[in-house]
Amino acid sequence: MSQLIGVWVAAFLTLCIFSFLYRDNPFFRFAESLFAGVSLGYYIGIVAVNTLVPNLINPLFGDFGANAHLLIPLLLGLNLYTRFIPRIAWLARISLAVYIAYYIGINMVQKIQGEIVPQVGSTILHPIGGVMTPVDNLILIVGVLAVLIYFYFSIEHRGAVGAVSRLGVWFLMLGFGAAFGYTVMGRVSLLIGRMNFLFIDLVRITGQAL
């Protein structure tokens, strides 16, 4: 019975969201606000149960001596909430600074080692070598150079530079077109999922329950 109630609530909320296609209305705004609230509640719960308890609380209460170093992230985390006390709000910046520095450190290496170097490397091609056909290589080389010239603003885009720059715009448009096509496919897929729920899952589960 609980599953039956669950699917009908889900169906009602789906229809509330779809009602926006006709026009904005209170049912849509109710479902939208409910989704935002439930998502936040779910996130807090899942972080507490899956991260805070097994990775912080249990180790500290289980074997404090061996896990005393966990007090550092605990204090840094609690320190973030000092921003709600105006007199000592500046203390929160210390935690924020540690957090930002950590992720800058991770990201810097990640971007250079894992993105810039391999991506530049895979663009430096022998025109007739590699795993791709010479035509693919040629398109890649011309495309990259043309797009780079389009984004090179230190010289005026006239004459030959202007022509290559316009070619760069064509390559960019092709890229945007491919991305847009994929986006349409993605959005339609989500609609298919909801329609499948309304017309197949809902009917099946209701039929099984009755």
Binding site: Q113, Q119, M195
Partner: protein, 294 residues
């Protein structure tokens, strides 16, 4: 004046056409053919090359909002792995629903393989916050990130996790992703630890991953519902007994979804062609009218 009315069709008529174009193929499947592309075949062949001694790390980096795209991928890959006896370690790094999706998919698939033992053939480690930090630390030891599995069992007591210490013991990482997390698997884990990474991405994020595919940082890519349907087709073609499973009425699969997808695309293209034709007709009419007035 009549032409102006045609370019200003109420958008709700377009919505209605799309709704009908989506619903009818779901209720009355057409069975359109699905052909596979190299990025999908590449992942399929990689899984085919693995066996019972190998380990796949399957990361659920998506939530319910993109389940119609990602869940069919997850189910097809899990079935493929379990059929070949490959050991699977399941984790979730997406906060809003990743662990719930992983639990649902495992609950759907594992009953099809009654011989499977949790902890021996597969392990479900659950969700962890802070994806980048978690990925980096798993390179040292999984136990540092997941001291217990999703069922609160210490990792040391799980037979599979006794031999899977870090990425060195993983033969393939597959991320089913809705956002930037897939990129991190490639530019952090693959770059720093060298473990092969394959991605099952939503269609929205798939285009940018082709660059990673070309550079060899990803060994396979399933792009959206189309990628999922290709993988389902490859699995069915190689293991025909799955055909009965995927053909069951009332069961949502990517192959069935692609029928609706194709009809919807045809409707969208028809509207684009119609709108453009009317636009050019209006322009020609106005030009002629301008010449006549002159």
């Amino acid at each position: 004046m009549k032409l102006e009315r045609l370019v200003n069709i109420d958008r709700r008529i377009v919505y209605l056409c799309i709704a009908v174009g989506t619903t009818l193929p779901l209720l009355l499947p057409i069975g359109l053919p699905v052909s596979s592309t190299p990025p999908v075949r590449s992942l399929f062949e990689k899984v085919e090359s693995l066996g019972p001694e190998d380990v796949v790390l399957l990361s659920f980096d998506y939530g319910p909002t993109t389940a119609p795209e990602n869940t069919p991928m997850a189910e097809a890959i899990l079935r493929h792995c379990f059929t070949r006896g490959i050991k699977v370690v399941v984790i979730a790094l997406f906060p809003i629903g990743g662990v719930t999706m992983a639990g649902e998919v495992l609950a759907n698939i594992t009953p099809e393989y009654p011989q499977l033992q949790e902890g021996v053939d597969y392990a479900f480690l659950g969700y962890k916050d802070g994806a980048q930090a978690a990925m980096k630390q798993m390179g040292v030891a999984f136990v540092n990130v997941f001291p217990v599995d999703n069922g609160r069992r210490p990792l040391g007591e799980i037979p599979l996790m006794q031999r899977v210490v870090n990425y060195d013991d993983v033969d393939l990482i597959v991320t089913l992703s809705t956002n930037v997390i897939a990129e991190w698997w490639a530019n952090l884990v693959n770059a720093q630890f060298g473990t092969p990474v394959a991605v099952g991405a939503t269609a929205v994020s798939a285009p940018k991953y082709y660059a990673f595919l070309d550079s060899g940082q990803m060994i396979g890519l399933l792009g959206g519902l189309k990628g999922a349907s290709e993988y389902e087709r490859l699995v069915i073609d190689r293991y025909p007994h799955f055909a009965r499973l995927y053909d069951r009425p009332g069961v949502y699969t990517a192959i069935k979804g692609m029928d609706a997808q194709t009809v919807d695309h045809a409707i969208i293209m028809a509207f684009i062609l119609f709108g453009n034709t009317v636009h050019f007709l209006i322009r020609r009419r106005d030009r002629r009218a301008g010449l006549r007035d002159a």
